[in-house]
């Protein structure tokens, strides 16, 4: 009897786990592909949020990761060891927006004119459009936000590649869904 009971309990929990897996897989390609690589986080995430590869197209990452570009990375020196530079560039290129099957990556890529190679994520038309309502009071003059480059300050599920409106919590203001 005890064994049967134990079996039932085990089944119950594994059933739940399976169901959770099923649902998370169903929405797997909704946002952008999460990036968990340690080299990437260590090399880029020391100074700023380690932006996912799926936020810019391949040509943008190829340009940004040139050695000369890294020496003047938006005014900062971001030099990397040559082997790391190549490894990170390849990682970014492999999951870039224009090769991604993630919904938001596809939208970002489609919004960029073919002849443009943006280096700033905040200057891609899709991201610009999505932040149209983010006026200075929420961002620039909000000491806890300051700039749109600090994505993770408001996008609380960003590590999972989720950018949905209901995950946006603006410091000093609250959930976006409640402000709107």
């Amino acid at each position: 009897m005890k064994k049967v009971l134990l079996f039932a309990v085990v089944m119950m929990f594994s059933g739940q786990a399976l169901a959770e897996d099923f649902f998370s897989n169903l929405f797997r390609f909704k946002g952008v592909k999460p990036m968990t690589d340690k080299l990437y986080k260590d090399s880029c995430g020391e100074c700023h949020f380690a932006y996912q590869a799926g936020l810019l197209p391949k040509r943008s990452w190829e340009k940004m990761m040139l050695a000369d570009q890294l020496s003047d990375h938006f005014g900062e020196v971001a030099d990397l060891e040559e082997e790391d530079r190549i490894a990170i560039r390849d990682m970014l290129v492999a999951d870039a927006a224009d090769t991604s099957i993630y919904k938001r990556s596809m939208k970002i890529d489609r919004s960029i004119p073919e002849n443009a190679t943006p280096l700033r994520i905040t200057e891609t038309p899709y991201i610009k459009k999505k932040h149209k309502e983010m006026t200075d009071k929420y961002v620039k003059f909000n000491p806890k936000v300051k700039s749109l480059i600090n994505c993770n300050t408001c996008h609380r599920e960003i590590e999972k590649g989720i950018f949905d409106d209901d995950t946006v919590l603006i410091p000093n203001f609250g959930y976006w869904s409640e402000i709107e």
């Binding site: 005014g75 030099d79 060891e81």
Partner: protein, 139 residues
Amino acid sequence: MKKVVILGLAICFAPALAQANLIPEMLSQYEAEGGSNFDAAAGKKMWSQEFASEDGDMRSCATCHNSDVRTAGKHKKTGKVIAAMAPSVPFVALEEGDEPRYTDVKKIEKWFKRNCKWTYGRECTVQEKGDFLMFLKDQ
């Protein structure tokens, strides 16, 4: 049997060793590369010495790290908090995955390269790097 015991001990102490302060090793490495008589006073002087950047602003190590290396600094542009440089300040992880200072050779070299270029417009010599570490070592 002896080998097994050594292996066991090595495994036990490996994490502790990995966290060790690498300044002495770095100093001998810089010596091997041509540096000599590393001077804490020279390192200290250079720490606060200001250099004009291309943009016209004055830059020194202290711009972002503070002149008192026992206090946390702040990145000039991004405002990001930078942990104190002094080894005597107890390590506190500011973010997930943070590791104590001076425990990773690659990281030490990476930041010497980036920050010397930012401050002086060129990479530091082994002598300068040695002087800096000599100064920071006992802070």
